[in-house]
Amino acid sequence: MTTLALDATLGARPAPRERTASLCVHCGQETAGGRFCCAGCEAAFATIQALGLGAYYQRRLLDPALRAPRPEIQEQRSFARHLRTDARGVHELTLAVDGLQCGACVWLIESVLARAPRVLTARVNMTTRSLRLAWRGTPDQADDLVARVEALGYRLVPFDPACLAAAQDRTGRALLRALAVAGFAAGNVMLISIGTWAGLAQGMGPATRGLMHWLSALIALPAIAYAAMPFLRSAVAALRAGRTNMDVPVSLGIVLVTAISLVETLRGGLHIYFDSALTLVFFLLAGRVLDHRARGRARATAEHLLALRAGDVSVLQPDGTTRRLAQDSVAIGDRVLVAMGERIGVDGIIDRGQTSLDASLVTGESLPVAASPGAQVFAGTLNLGEAVTVRTTATGNATLLGECVRLIEAAESRRGRFVVLADRIARRYAPAVQIAAALTFLLWWAVLGAPLATSLLVAATVLIITCPCALALAVPVVQVIATSRLFRSGTLLKSPTALERLAEIDTIVFDKTGTLTEPTLALADVAALDPAALRVAAALAATSRHPLARALTAAAGPAAPAAGVVEHSGQGLSHATPAGEERLGSRSFCGLPPAPAPTPELWLTRPGHPPCRFAFAETLRPDARAVLDRLRAGGLRIILASGDRAGAVGRIAAALAITESHAELSPPDKVALLERLRAEGRHVLMVGDGLNDGPSLAAAHVSASPATGADVSQTVADVVFQGRHLRPVADIIETARRARSVTRQNIALSLAYNVLMLPLAIAGLITPWLAAAAMSASSLIVMSNSFRILRGDRS
């Protein structure tokens, strides 16, 4: 029953809950009877009612895939260090909010904070899941405000400055500005052009026509100079590097059309083409903006990882003061102070202080891990609790993170430069068009004996009519539609070339843990356990955030947390009862003789009962077998490559009917395996989730990682998919193949249009209105054809 609450499949509607147990009024999780599951929820409910915000419960929509808003006891933390204070004494603080469910949460948080004294602004951003707070008063008030929100069941963490920079998204804004300018200018110039064409048909005088042309030029020139910059810059960069890309013919077309139109305006000619140039720029920018939006979130992760390698660290001096030093200047053995919310900058061992760490960057485990003196910590880990001192054991490139980044860079440089389809076509297309224009000029000037100006104009029309508007749209429109289709089902395409590379693959290499199996462990053999022992253990475990404790509570079903449980960091939980002490934790913590453990385990000891063992095992993703069968049916070769022991790998391979499996592979071994496959001429998709998969993800032709994976693997992977299911892997390959065929049709369509129009242009029969109509028509055909990717989605 509780496993339903863990179903995190996006796109699928949450399964209806069975109403056998009563649900907590506040957090919606099952209770052991009664209206509330815990004292925290009861207090949150009372607070909300007292503030007159009870409407929250009618308005909200709880998503079972997300963390329920159950208040948890937090360590005492100080936020004063993270705030900015301006000259007028206004303090400002930006916090990441965990547990946002829907619009009602935004309303609740903002309303609660607005009722707090001296608060000036409290605004939640749902897209970036952050809260911006401004208040007038003392800096210490931060802790009180945070406590108010956390008492409702949310969790606040100081916002990482790296994320803050990514959230501002300068490129996206610049593109939108350019789009707005192009749209404004295109609309106005088009209106004037329609007036001119109508006037030409009805005998408009040359003076009026000149006025119209000058007006168009006045609007178009500055607009093109501004809005076409993204294409011009990219084209110039490509030419400097001695390559061509699609932006080269596009830029050439835009510049030529503009220049010819300007010359025609100056000499009082009949035809100008500013509207064509502006519409082209507008369509292309629209594609870029959509593309940028779709990949925004993934890009933030990538920028994030780069930012992690920068930052300074605070080194404790012998006299007790701290000094900010660059990561590289920290010596081995130096003691480094890590404040709450700060990334640890070095590898080391905790010297002093108790805290909880977010090690998702390194392990992929998203639940905070408790850490106490003596614990090994790695660079890139986020300190969620109190300040700690860390004794440095490695810095800079010698850290685990640095080592991994180095391996990834090495693998990526071997991957070489993948040339996208559009660029391969542009390489042949651009010279062909230029030769056609040159031949047209020669034909009119040398063969037909036309005046120089007329010959030049006809040659220019050839360039205008063949300006690859539809061709330049053919690929990005498909990309945008396919990307947003995948995005809606919870899959992020990070690399712009990923789709094309995905369409080519013929082999898939899977990692085992966290990829074919679920990222969290599950309690094994629940049926064989003593139900009474399980109940007692669940009551203890319900008070802890430890992954094993979570797995235990998930398997045991609803349980009221026992009162007065003490958590011993890294060892277990103890609970004093009238009969004696109950303990849940590691073998040694429960006072049992040491013995090797084949699987992760927890022990329960209580007075008057024999010790009870809870073993945890990996479970396959629910649809792993079905998806692999579907992939095999699609003609793909499936390989399992794991760092785990042969026995465990063999069991999984047998369960999934995988004939080719490799066990006990180190990260370099995996890279070697991929290199071998590449040498055989195979195109490999690598699916993996761990830090150790980072290098092989980079070495594969294309790579995918589950969203539960380590940040490193998500950063390197071309595709990141969410949820408990493996189905997205099959979906992306299918979408990629469909996208490839639609792209090819688009290219064929736009080339066919050019072949049809070219003779008209060479014959000098093209007028501006014909050019505008033909260009828009071909663009619309290409766009509507692209929407066929979505075919079958509605069923």
Partner: protein
């Protein structure tokens, strides 16, 4: 035909005004939280 000068000037002014408002709204950060904005209209403050 002099009216054309006023009308074109007026239409450009109106269009330019729209562009100005859009650029202002972009600068004011109104496109930073599209998801939140869609939800916010459901709740009276």
């Amino acid at each position: 035909m002099n009216v054309i000068l006023y009308l074109i000037g007026l239409s450009l002014l109106l269009g330019g005004g729209g562009l100005g408002v859009f650029l202002w709204s972009l600068r004011a950060g109104q496109y930073e939280d599209m998801e939140g904005a869609a939800n916010r209209i459901l709740f009276d403050e």
